[in-house]
Symmetry: C2
Subunit: 325 residues, 2 copies
Amino acid sequence: MPNIKQIAEAAGVSVSTVSRVLNDHPYVREDKRRAVEAAIERLQYSRNMNAVNLVKGATQTIGVILPQINNAYFSKVVEGIGQQALQVNYQLMLFQTGYRAHEERKALHMLRDKIVDGLIVVSRSLSLNQIEKYAKYGPITLCEEVRDRALSCVYFDHYASFQKALTYLWDKGHRRIGYTVNRRNSASSAIRHKAYLDTLASLEGESRESWIFDNCLHLEDGAKLLKHIMAMDNPPSAILITGDQVAAGLMIAAQNQGVHIPEEFAIIGLDNQPISRLLGITTIDNRLNEIGAEAFGIVYKHITEPTGSTIIRELGFKIVERSSV
Amino acid sequence: MPNIKQIAEAAGVSVSTVSRVLNDHPYVREDKRRAVEAAIERLQYSRNMNAVNLVKGATQTIGVILPQINNAYFSKVVEGIGQQALQVNYQLMLFQTGYRAHEERKALHMLRDKIVDGLIVVSRSLSLNQIEKYAKYGPITLCEEVRDRALSCVYFDHYASFQKALTYLWDKGHRRIGYTVNRRNSASSAIRHKAYLDTLASLEGESRESWIFDNCLHLEDGAKLLKHIMAMDNPPSAILITGDQVAAGLMIAAQNQGVHIPEEFAIIGLDNQPISRLLGITTIDNRLNEIGAEAFGIVYKHITEPTGSTIIRELGFKIVERSSV
DNA sequence: CTGTTAGCGCATTCAG
DNA sequence: CTGAATGCGCTAACAG
């Protein structure tokens, strides 16, 4: 594997001239340029990007922290990130953490160690304090609402969406309304719970601990959920399911078992995944692709125009009415 | 951001000593080690991995070429890759190509330019000749059968699985059997088509061009497929659907429209995705996770024990009988 | 327009 | 056990 020096010799020029043609600089005489290109071709030269990265202090790569790839929600966000990255020739390095603090920290170290120029945190288990410590090493953007910290973010408003969806159900006549979450102790769950309590209080409706269902992330969890609900003494008449995979799992299980939705109880999903359309599930479109795209845009902006000031972006949402309510 | 030299000064030792403690070398006097560690802590030092990569000529990163992340099939493979990578502290760099030759080539360049130590090609559009050209830069492993080339691979046997599934349908009494593919002009499609013709010929059954359905990849494609089939003059009585997402889409659409499966026609899926279980779809378990895991194992082996000899690994499969046939 | 040269930050012989 | 010195491959002043 030849290096730039050997190309220079072969072409009868200096290394800087080679470097110039490599980087498309102007001011290189045409015959020399051609000589260099010929030498590159002949010796099968390719540049060692590690050296470039070292001297430039950047890698054109950004890291993505997420619990798992094989999941409709996360993949949709990552897809959005990837599409933007493509536009500006950046690479994506994925850190599948499984919500293990150790793995999340390893990803943070990649920023510190200059393996990546920036970081997007799609979902996390580490505390904001822990994450903020690494902000000095490079831009970090979270896909959740974060304020008054050295961290940027893009998010959709969990509170408002819950409020709107709950009110929607209320207006349809439901008085026993529950909801599901992925992890009860996550940041978004706290917001949602508050929205749940607040909204029902303002509607003078009832909220119940037993109408809140934890650990709902995958398709199969939806099937389990149905079973659980059918066995309840006083089940909710409507459920806000925070994830269309779960909603779909419940819906399919319901069809299998002859449970009629929305007659027996209503559901609203979240994420507007393709499957919800097929199953006629009313859902909330939270623009996951755009969240990813925006997240990338933000770290990219931080990299290219370092200002120090943090960026906070809220994305809208809308209820997609179908036939599960 | 301090460098190793400043740490050396602060600790009153030489850079080599610092480097030694950084790399856990033996033969460092305890007090010096502690002095170095203290300096590192105090100055908030972190190593610039680009320099390490440069001098070591490796990055502990492998690249993954795939058309898109947001897809149940590909994510499952990537998940498998990621799990193995984790074990040995390697990073994953994802290249979402959308089957664009240009993007695939860019990923190949990453290998040539030493950004990644190896490459896994989950699915491609570039020719094997094109890909093989880059084998000299580092190990490349494909997730499909490849022989007599400087490329390793891990695959499940499309031919045998088709043969088995077709025979299974035949034995259940079906005489008009069709199948779907994602891209008709892909490598695996050629194999499958041969298996289709061969198997039906040996069974003395009929094969028909109109029973072969192209462009079936996503959930929605399944719904379209159903529509298409219901409008056919002489529809197949059974379809081998190469992807559970498509099978699921068809199944759900069938339920919506009151089409009974398997009474009106039977289907067999592929990939054994969670959704096929929920929907009672008979499917072929092709161990996608393991394919990813094996693929990583192979490139890793090439990196750690360079032998030059190529590795070819075939993984078994089995039919998971449920109720769609 | 071109070449010389000084780093980028670190690992690693090679002498002690 | 330790330090000095060399080089990894490339970019970017700087001086012509």
